[in-house]
């Protein structure tokens, strides 16, 4: 049995801007194994984020197929994709995207609202996730009371709290200083190595990419070269 988690076949993504058609991804093929930590690099406009959106079920390809964990994302309805994301994907954004009105604990609990867990169980799991990222003592703090690095840790806790198959990170260290960025990358690396999370990370930062097991370079909507860390 194959241990491929992600299989993309002949993926194209074309956006229409008025009368103009822009092909962001062109006939892209890719497989990613379970437990991999993949860095996606490339210049702006090369299609990295578009690829990440397709992998996360946030967007659908114009043509081609996206199969993750045996499920065909390109054939799913919007509601089915929502449910699939809730079960299988954790997202980490460059600007953290925490809800400012909720404490760290409640932000982490958000994905669990979509499960059948009761309030007590949700709180317990969120506390565990916060402990994994080293922020158990910041549970009652609001995002405005946290540093950038701490906010990103909370975002990581939110991403892992429902124990997803796949972690998708879009420039997770893009807004952080070097030292804090390294802390976050070490955390992601630990999640990959110790918890066997499959991580796909879009980054412009070559040093960040060194934390990944593999690096893929993209240019003009296609994969250019593959390098191993």
């Amino acid at each position: 049995m194959s241990d491929d988690l992600v299989t993309l076949k002949d993926i194209s993504r074309i956006y229409e801007k008025g009368k103009e058609k822009v092909e962001v991804l062109h006939q892209l093929n890719l497989t990613i194994k379970q437990g991999d930590f993949l860095a996606l690099m490339g210049p702006s406009g090369s299609g990295k984020t578009t690829l990440l959106n397709l992998l996360g079920g946030l967007d659908k390809p114009t043509s081609g197929s996206v199969e993750i964990g045996g499920e065909k994302l390109h054939l799913m309805s919007s509601s089915a994709l929502s449910r699939w994301r809730a079960r299988h994907v954790g997202f980490i954004f460059q600007f953290y995207n925490l809800l400012p009105v909720l404490t760290a604990q409640k932000n982490v609990e958000l994905p669990l609202l979509l499960t059948s867990l009761n309030g007590k169980e949700r709180a317990k799991r969120a506390a565990t996730a916060l402990a994994i990222v080293g922020l158990e003592d910041r549970a009652k703090h609001y995002p405005r009371e946290l540093s950038g690095g701490q906010e990103q840790r909370v975002a990581i806790a939110r991403a892992i709290v429902s124990d997803p198959t796949l972690l998708l990170c879009d420039e997770p260290t893009g807004d952080l200083d070097r030292e804090t960025a390294d802390e976050i990358l070490n955390l992601l690396q630990a999640l990959n190595r110790e918890h066997n999370k499959t991580i796909i990370m879009v980054t412009h930062d070559a040093q960040a990419a060194e934390y990944a097991r593999h690096t893929l370079h993209m240019d003009k909507g296609t994969l250019v070269v593959e390098a191993s860390a």
């Binding site: 959106n53 996360g56 946030l58 967007d59 919007s78 509601s79 929502s82 449910r83 699939w84 994301r85 809730a86 079960r87 997202f91 954004f93 600007f95 995207n97 809800l99 400012p100 009105v101 909720l102 409640k106 958000l110 994905p111 609202l113 979509l114 309030g119 939110r158």
Partner: protein, 384 residues
Amino acid sequence: MKYFYLVWKSLWRKKIRTILTILSVFVAFLLFGLLNALNQAFGGATDLANAQRLITLDKISIINSLPSAYLTRIESVPGVRRVAHASWFGGYYQDPRNQFAQFPVDPERYLDVYPELTIPDEQRNEWTRKRDSVIVGRALAEQYGWSVGDRIPIYSSIWTNRNGGQVWDFEIAGIFDNDDPRSNTLFMLINYDYFDEGRAFGQGSMGWFILSIDSAANSAEVADAVDTLFANSPNQTKTSTEAAFAESFIGQYGNIALIITLILTAVFFTILLVAGNTMAQSVRERISELAVLKTLGFEDRAVLAIVLAESSLVMFVGGLLGLGTATLLINVILAGNIPLPGIYIDARAILTGLLYMALAGLAAGIFPAIRAMRLTIVDALSRA
């Protein structure tokens, strides 16, 4: 319910804006409650009317008195069980601002026809026995601090007494209550015999007659029979049910229900604009947050429900506070002290208010909610 915390916290994202919006909803539903009570008092006076009572007035105008001889003649009409009479005294206590209703009546007849007025027997007997005595309603007695045995001067702007003065001196023989909580007891009943003998003019006349009849089903026939009886007399009469009398009396003030409806329509329309604008702003400011919720797996309909729940919550918090305050004011704090019978916020008004809150919440939130539901994650995140 598990989204309630999220909805509640989102509501307080901009505290001042939310408080101002809730305050405007509060004022709208306070007005709704108060105006509804007023409408109830005017329109609802007919609800308080007894179907087995008829009122006979002068056909031309209520200010024209009728001869006292009519009383026994009316009582002889088949179907009439008992007849009472009343007149308008038009007085005030100490200061012209202290206006309240006073009616010279025959004690026995009046209390027979209005069995809902209750008074201890010894006080009733004292009133009947002592000619210069009066009985006062409980609310009136409480308003002026009167007790049984007090002597009170009442200035009548209509009736000069035989001494040439306008001030009439009465002793309070009793305090009566009304069984119906919607009714007020802000009036005084004067012994007619004392009044009739004491007035300088108009002896032997009565303001109107109140007929207690055997069956409400015969009211039209009895009314016709009474009016036919006096058809060729100098003082022709007009007899109607107590409800019709109340309606025509209220009609003098204009179409109160329409005026109230127009005011409330304007108020609610404004509230919809205010709350709708608040919700639209709130959603606009949270595009990226809503996109994050969708990214985490919240379905479109869940996002729709969250925004609608927010606008409904604003309406229910403000609305319940407003309607609750109005109910507390009308039904508890001012109960019985408003000189208008039947002023009351009933269960129907509260249910209507709740329905309006739900509808207003839906109307104010539906467009922002649809916008939130239709958000495309990729577009929303790229705009953030």
